[in-house]
Symmetry: C2
Subunit: 306 residues, 2 copies
């Protein structure tokens, strides 16, 4: 099934206890589209970069199965740049630099050939850009998934609430769920957030996995306990990309199938953190993904005979 993603395509400079990078390719749109391309092709991308963005990397995305017709290249402008430094526990980070550049006036143009897309993944971007994409769709999709972050809760709350009310599934982390709902209990937070519009909610808990909510149902997915988290950048976006890619491939949005999609997303995220940036995602094969999904099963399955 057809999948349209929107999100930043960016330069990142990352520092972790294991090392640091120069400007490498990152951005939610990049991670989402690579991750979802494991399941469905082509992945349609709406995004913007400057003319400093390497043509070879656009080729890399295309080789991976990404349709870049919706990737705008702005002459004489610069690509969005983010630099961050992770603390020793890898669970928190400081933003060192944010240069919006082309993102500042990003007008998310949806090419005519993208119309009719049935699965929509709105990566973390300003909620106003996210809602514009929805408004520009001429046909109602089967599923709209939205990722966002606390930054937008702080500076664009009304826009954010409007966009949240337009989507089917919201994906945020545990701290954000608590901030958005004002509830510490994630179960209570989920109820309040689903009352804001989305029928489904995913709460990402980093090294503790993720929770999927729908009505009174809950599914708890673990994270794979890794010896080393080398670079967490993009893990949440990779998770989202794997999740919606799997749903688009199977074209089944039952809760049971969403559980599997959460596991596929988690499996891809567990690869993402093993190297800097998108490096590991670009190495692995479908067989690697299947092997890891089996590891997730082994990690959680228990005999239920009494």
């Amino acid at each position: 099934m057809s999948l349209l993603t929107v999100g930043s395509v960016a330069f990142d400079a990352i520092e972790t206890p294991f090392g640091k990078t120069d400007k490498i390719i990152g951005g939610a749109g990049t991670y989402i589209s690579i991750a979802s391309s494991f399941f469905t092709k082509p992945v349609r991308v709406v995004a913007v970069v400057g003319d400093d963005f390497p043509k070879e990397y656009i080729k890399t995305l295309e080789d991976q199965g990404v349709d870049t017709e919706g990737l705008q290249i702005k002459e004489n402008e610069k690509t969005f740049f983010w630099a961050g430094k992770y603390h020793n526990d890898m669970n928190s980070r400081d933003t060192l630099v944010t240069e919006l550049n082309v993102l500042e006036n990003f007008d998310p143009i949806v090419p005519a050939s993208y119309q009719g897309s049935e699965y929509i993944m709105l990566g973390n971007l300003s909620p106003q850009v996210q809602s514009t994409v929805i408004e520009r769709l001429t046909q109602k999709p089967k599923l709209i998934v939205m990722d966002t972050m606390n930054f937008w809760m702080d500076i664009a709350f009304d826009d954010l609430m409007k966009t949240i009310s337009m989507v089917d599934l919201l994906s945020i982390n545990d701290e954000e769920a608590r901030q958005l709902s004002g509830e510490y209990s994630l179960r209570k937070a989920a109820k309040k957030i689903m009352a804001m519009g989305p029928k489904y909610l995913i709460i990402k808990k980093g090294e503790h996995g993720a929770l999927l909510f729908h009505k009174d149902e809950v599914f708890s997915a673990p994270a794979l306990p890794l010896e080393e988290v080398f670079d967490p950048t993009g893990a949440g976006d990779t998770f989202a990309g794997g999740f919606i890619g799997y749903l688009a491939k199977t074209d089944d949005i039952s809760f049971e199938n969403m559980k599997k999609a959460v596991i596929y997303g988690s499996a891809l995220a567990s690869f993402c953190v093993e190297k800097f940036g998108t490096e590991r995602l670009l190495e692995i094969t479908d067989a690697d993904v299947q092997t890891r999904v089996k590891e997730f099963h082994k990690l959680t399955a228990f005999d239920t005979t009494l």
Copy 2:
């Protein structure tokens, strides 16, 4: 199979955002023995209280299936008392009062009738008391499980390391695993801790569940996402009691069966936190426990066909 537990039997005064209690019955030994009594009876208890401890509560334990022959009652002495206050997030607490009283000179006498016990649960107590119990056993048990806490790492490190080297399974929380191993990654921490002696390790993660390690195997159990955690006191001890009780009942210490034991322990712990102290544990039935174990399965199971 026969189960011997040792642990504090205490008075607790607890304050949470939901309310506060006067002195109620608590202590690791209390929670462990009640939880394990759901699976195996009698549960043999080695513990000490003062003559201020209510006779009716000893009767309550006995009615639950606890053998109190090893419960020493010290005339003219007072029962161990702990008072604590939970923060709003319920994940951290301040200790307000610790009165060791009878625990100060606790000599853990193992009654002759307790000899031959095959499963041993050493609840959190001074590691010196825990190792004394092991040394007083005349027959080698099938499995010795030890719970401890950071307090002993700080004040009795050598004793602690000695006791850890004598047990088969250590149960601690994630912060303690990091402190004991000096490793942030729980997978690395587990390797280092198992090299200290125990063949198995359980890392408790509170609202994020628990991990069970053995050699290169890992099992991840979720916690049930609850609307409200009313009082977390005793949840870890209840988990440990349910875990070893289930193993003693089934007399099977394979890794597969330990996974189930972790789920049974988690199920009991999820009840424990619903009311103050042991109140909820004393209300529930075997059928309630089975129903909750099924909820855990529903929470984590996913279809593995590709």
